[in-house]
């Protein structure tokens, strides 16, 4: 039986836009605009979408690196205790920070250039009660070995490492408090392809060894397909499709996902398909279009799309649950 680790309900993150002489708030960037999402223990959930769709903001909102404007983020422990995270006081959040961690995108800014690796990583350990220095060195050393690096590297400075190595150190940092869920925010996007594959393999291996759950945020659908059990596709702050990763490719329901998949260049001459070229650009999240946010670019849009906002409905494809928010799906809805 699948058990949830996180339940997101109606999560919204709005950033105020200030302008004018008095910095008056003239509008809001609707970065994340009402997301419902369950993350199950032990799965890899992909969160895909183009830049500006709010996927990174959503990831940070879970960790409260960005405060959600509205909505609930519930953490469910192994003993089925539910805790609502967004309403917690800062210090009450601490026990949950141990459980939830994040790996960042840019290997150049993710490590503090003026500290050794040990220097950067020891403070969190200190804070969470590991008082002796030897113990901290042991934990970090063990983890470095776990990511195929040498124990001695902990006394080196970040500039001595290559991009791939830094990314591994970023993973070590996320792992050092033995978390249950790791948010991987574009964790491999900045790496060269040959290194990217190394890190992907490493992530999969660690997941097995340490029983982790990943929320894998990326713009690259081919990586998500390879890595994830389920994929959520976001567009303008909302989830437009959520299903098993194979179903997303084989039984695409939403026209946006369809266009996205067809637009990705595939390094296989036998798999070339006709690209669906979308018109225009992603609209501004300050002023999203009325009705379905995708309708101005959608090749299939009808009149209803211009006026009514579609909701995420449950369908079934290939025997699996499949959520999509589009008016034009002619499958029977499941309740």
């Amino acid at each position: 039986m699948k058990k949830e680790i996180l339940k997101l309900r109606g999560v919204k993150v709005h950033f105020p836009v200030q302008a004018g002489v008095f910095n008056r708030v003239v509008g809001h960037v609707l970065a994340v605009d009402g997301v419902d999402l369950d993350i199950f223990r032990g799965e890899v959930l992909g969160l895909a979408g183009e830049s500006g769709c709010g996927k990174t903001t959503l990831g940070k909102a879970i960790l409260r690196l960005v405060e959600p404007t509205d909505g609930e983020v519930k953490y469910i422990s192994q003993d089925d205790d539910e805790t609502e995270l967004t309403s917690l006081e800062k210090k009450d959040m601490d026990p949950f920070r141990k459980k939830l961690q994040i790996v960042f995108q840019d290997p150049h800014s993710s490590l503090n250039p003026s500290f050794t690796i040990f220097g950067s990583l020891q403070d969190p350990l200190k804070k969470f009660g590991i008082k002796s220095k030897e113990e901290r060195r042991k934990i970090i050393g063990d983890l470095l070995e776990a990511v195929n690096m040498r124990r001695e590297y902990m006394d080196r400075y970040p500039h001595e490492f290559s991009g791939g190595q830094r990314q591994r150190i970023g993973i070590v940092r996320a792992l050092c408090l033995e978390p249950e869920l790791i948010v991987c925010d574009e964790a491999v996007s900045a790496l060269d392809v040959s290194i990217q594959a190394q890190v992907l393999k490493l992530l999969m291996q660690l997941k097995k060894e340490k029983n982790l759950t990943y929320l894998f945020i990326t713009h690259d659908l081919s990586v998500t397909e390879y890595l994830c059990d389920r994929i959520a596709v976001m567009y303008l702050g909302r989830i437009v499709e959520l299903c098993d990763s194979e179903d997303l490719y084989n039984n695409t329901l939403h026209p946006y996902s369809e266009a996205l998949i067809s637009a990705i260049p595939v390094a296989d001459l036998d798999k070339q398909t006709k690209r669906i070229v979308l018109e225009g650009d992603v609209p501004s999240p300050v002023n999203p279009p009325k009705g379905c946010p995708f309708h101005p670019r959608c090749p299939k849009a009808t009149d209803i799309c211009k006026t009514e906002v579609p909701t995420l409905k449950k369908y079934s494809t290939n025997g699996n649950e499949h959520y999509a928010s589009c008016h034009l799906i002619d499958l029977p809805e499941i309740s």
């Binding site: 690196l65 800062k90 960042f104 490590l111 503090n112 250039p113 500290f115 403070d123 996320a174």
Partner: protein, 304 residues
């Protein structure tokens, strides 16, 4: 076509590279770059000499900077009096040495103290934002909308002249610039991912801000400290020249120069004001060279 100098340099480097004879000294890149900057090294050398000379002034000169000797008034430079003597027969060289002590102390001391204040406020305000930031920003704006020398003069006129007052005034007027610099650095560092990672562990603001972020903001701050040292020394000299800085009985570089307001002295007794003017200029120039060298060597965007 004749080979340009650049081409020749390239040939050399290539030859060295192919023979694998390039220097592999394990020195930090920053130190290396600084040492390659000839002006900065020259600045550092002269800077050290002047500072040492001021510190060991009593050993270097047999004269008392304060003692009036009416028998040897207004003597031109000689073997006994290297820079001659002034209107009351005091040895100018000795006075320059002792004046250096006070002037450098004021310049360096005010620069460092105002940096401490500026950084302490700026780091916190820049990282945390909120009302502290707004208030500090407004206050620094008030200070910065006065031309500095006017504000200093204004405060001097209120508090009266003394060494201590002058330093306090310098700190009061100088922290704003440092505050803004520290704040701006913090604002950009705040977005770095390692800071976000620390936040995701819920570490305290104090640890993140002063322990993890501050060291990365230090190099522009160091540069700014050197530059404001130079500025404070100049301001002190200007004020004392006007007779409004340090009380006239304490020898400082500016006070020694004060005599040059008299056109007679200006015209006839060049040694009373010329050498000290040059010493100030050279010292400030050296500080500026050092600051510039530091800036270039810590700036990752410049290669060469």
């Amino acid at each position: 076509m004749a080979k340009s100098s650049l081409d020749k340099k390239f040939d050399q480097i290539r030859k060295r590279e192919e023979e694998k004879t390039f220097s592999t000294k394990k020195r930090s890149r920053i130190v290396n770059k600084f040492l390659n900057n000839r002006l900065a090294v020259l600045g550092l050398i002269i800077f050290t000499i002047i500072i040492l000379a001021s510190i060991f002034a009593p050993l270097l000169s047999p004269y008392d900077p304060m003692r009036v000797d009416l028998r040897s008034m207004r003597q031109p430079p000689s073997f006994d009096h290297w820079f001659g003597t002034d209107s009351t027969g005091r040895d100018v060289f000795t006075r320059v040495l002792f004046g250096g002590r006070v002037s450098i102390f004021i310049g360096l001391g005010s620069a460092i103290l105002s940096a401490v204040v500026g950084i302490a406020v700026g780091c916190y305000a820049g990282y945390k934002g909120g009302w502290i930031d707004v208030i500090a920003l407004r206050i620094s704006e008030i200070f910065m909308s006065f031309p500095q020398i006017i504000l200093v003069l204004l405060l001097v006129s209120i508090t009266g002249q003394s060494l201590f007052n002058l330093m306090a005034i310098f700190i009061l007027t100088g922290w704003g610039g440092m505050y803004r610099l520290a704040r701006a650095r913090m604002l950009s560092l705040r977005e770095e991912e390692y800071v976000q990672a620390l936040r995701s562990f819920g570490l305290s603001t104090f640890t993140i801000c002063y322990k993890h972020m501050l060291p990365n903001a230090l190099s522009p701050i160091m540069v700014n400290i050197t530059l404001s040292t130079a500025m404070f020394i100049l301001t002190e000299a200007g004020l004392s020249f006007l007779g409004l800085g340090v009380p006239l009985n304490i020898p400082t570089w500016g006070n020694i120069l004060n005599v040059a307001q008299d056109i007679l002295i200006l015209q006839n007794y060049w040694w009373m004001w010329g050498p000290v003017g040059i010493v100030i200029s050279v010292f400030v120039l050296c500080v500026n060279f050092i600051g510039d060298g530091l800036r270039d060597s810590t700036d990752p965007s410049q290669q060469g």
